[in-house]
Subunit: 280 residues, 2 copies
């Protein structure tokens, strides 16, 4: 199918959906149609050439591939509404940051009518949201995670398109492993950034901060609605990571309070060793 | 004095001392002499023109300005050894990351023989150490903190030199305020980065990480010897910040565990609001 021309629909033209539309328009000859609840976003996407047009009910029925680029509940609502109009050969994929929840919701719908769903997580983002901020450059070299280890033509098609969009690496995993690791690599840093800036000292930082302040606090200007969902959808894994972090913080807190110079030195040396090992 | 030519000695030609030597050589006509316990560092500094020569006992006696760019205890040892040979008009300054400790040690020495000491903290660094890594570019736009609010010709001289080195801002404060705020802006992010990478998940991050992982973990490849000293020298302020952070982490942990969607949303919204307010 990747050889011929596909009709691709992007549902939700925000930061990620807008970026996918622009990237596919730029690097493929497929027909890219858009759907969004916001009229002005749709107009902007059509006017700037990010999409070939606004998807009609007919387009949905004819679509070969649909990228769901909205919140988990909105993904499921869209699928419910269009369950019987979508072609059974159509590939459905999503961009949700947590995979177990969406996969479970989709599985319930597949009991009603079978369709091809490939859970995916394009690991890219920035601190601002919306179509106007979307830019395929954020995909450059990033990981495109496909949260199923099952081989299929559909997964192959998505991998090839992700490479064309500029993703540097296609990672195959399961929803469970994905959510466990993401709790550490992505959710915990966001929790941390927010907890960090809540210190009363944060208002006094001007003139006293350098790179380490900037880096830890960067993602604190968070999309609260999106991340509340992501945190609650992955509560078990995230709570385990928060607990591990509090445990480690409490450990070095105790060593500093003693004070036990050797233990503090040991803690920092071990961290430095791990950081060098994992990044090389 | 800033008009004429000064004899300036840099004690310790590591990342900071090496950077100061190179910056002063590049942007002033002063005579820059170096001292280091490592012979090969001294040779490299002389060979690359970062210093005009290796400081002799005579140079120390003639020095108009001395930058102490070594660990706090080594700063005090150098001053003890040279207390009676240094000119009383010579300006002594340091680069220690914590100010109360060094200021208190210097005050004890000043009871024995008075000399001009201006505590300073050039807020710049990177993950690697040593002369070979030193680069005046890290000073560009950074804060040069002078930890005394008292006006003096010596402080004025140091401010003018800092501007010539490329620092973007001269901040005047007290050792107490400095240490309190630095505990939050610099020490806590380093504690955090180390506690963060100690999670068992960190070894699995490859392919699952994006900007937020990279940013939080960046400084975990820490100079354990230097930071053990800095943490212990500022234990009271740092412990207060660690406690505040653990408190905030425990709060959102509880809200996620409930789960209380409204409280999680409120926590994140408040953090986003603060982050926007403090960075604008």
């Amino acid at each position: 199918m990747i050889g011929g021309s596909m009709k691709i629909i992007i549902v939700g033209l925000g930061l990620i959906g807008g970026g996918i539309a622009k990237a596919l328009k730029k690097s493929t000859a497929h027909e890219i149609m858009g759907i969004d609840t916001d009229e002005s976003t749709l107009e902007m996407a059509a006017d700037t050439g990010a999409i070939d047009g606004i998807a009609s009910a007919e387009d949905i029925a004819e679509a070969d591939l649909i990228y769901l680029c909205v919140y988990p509940q909105a993904c499921l609502s869209f699928m419910k509404e269009n369950l019987y109009s979508i072609k059974q050969s159509c590939i459905i994929t999503d961009c949700c940051g947590i995979k177990r929840e969406i996969v479970s919701g989709i599985k319930d719908l597949q009991k009603e009518r079978s369709f091809v769903f490939i859970p995916a997580h394009p690991m890219a983002g920035k601190e601002k949201n919306g179509f106007a901020e979307s830019d395929p450059a954020i995909f450059q070299g990033a990981s495109y995670i496909i949260a199923t280890e099952e081989e299929s033509a559909a997964a192959e098609t998505l991998s090839e398109l992700a490479k064309k969009m500029g993703f540097g690496r296609i990672v195959r995993t399961t929803p469970e492993k994905h959510d466990r690791i993401i709790a550490f690599t992505s959710q915990l840093p966001h929790v941390l950034a927010c907890a960090y800036v809540l210190s009363p000292q944060s208002r006094l930082h001007s003139g006293f901060s350098a790179g380490s302040y900037r880096d830890v606090s960067r993602v604190a200007d968070i999309n609260a609605e999106l991340w509340t969902d992501l945190f609650l959808d992955n509560a078990d894994d995230l709570l385990a990571e928060i607990d591990t972090l509090i445990e480690n913080l409490s450990k070095i807190r105790k060593d500093i309070a003693e004070p036990d110079r050797e233990k503090v030195f040991g803690f920092l040396s071990k961290a430095a060793e791990i950081k060098r090992a994992i990044d090389n």
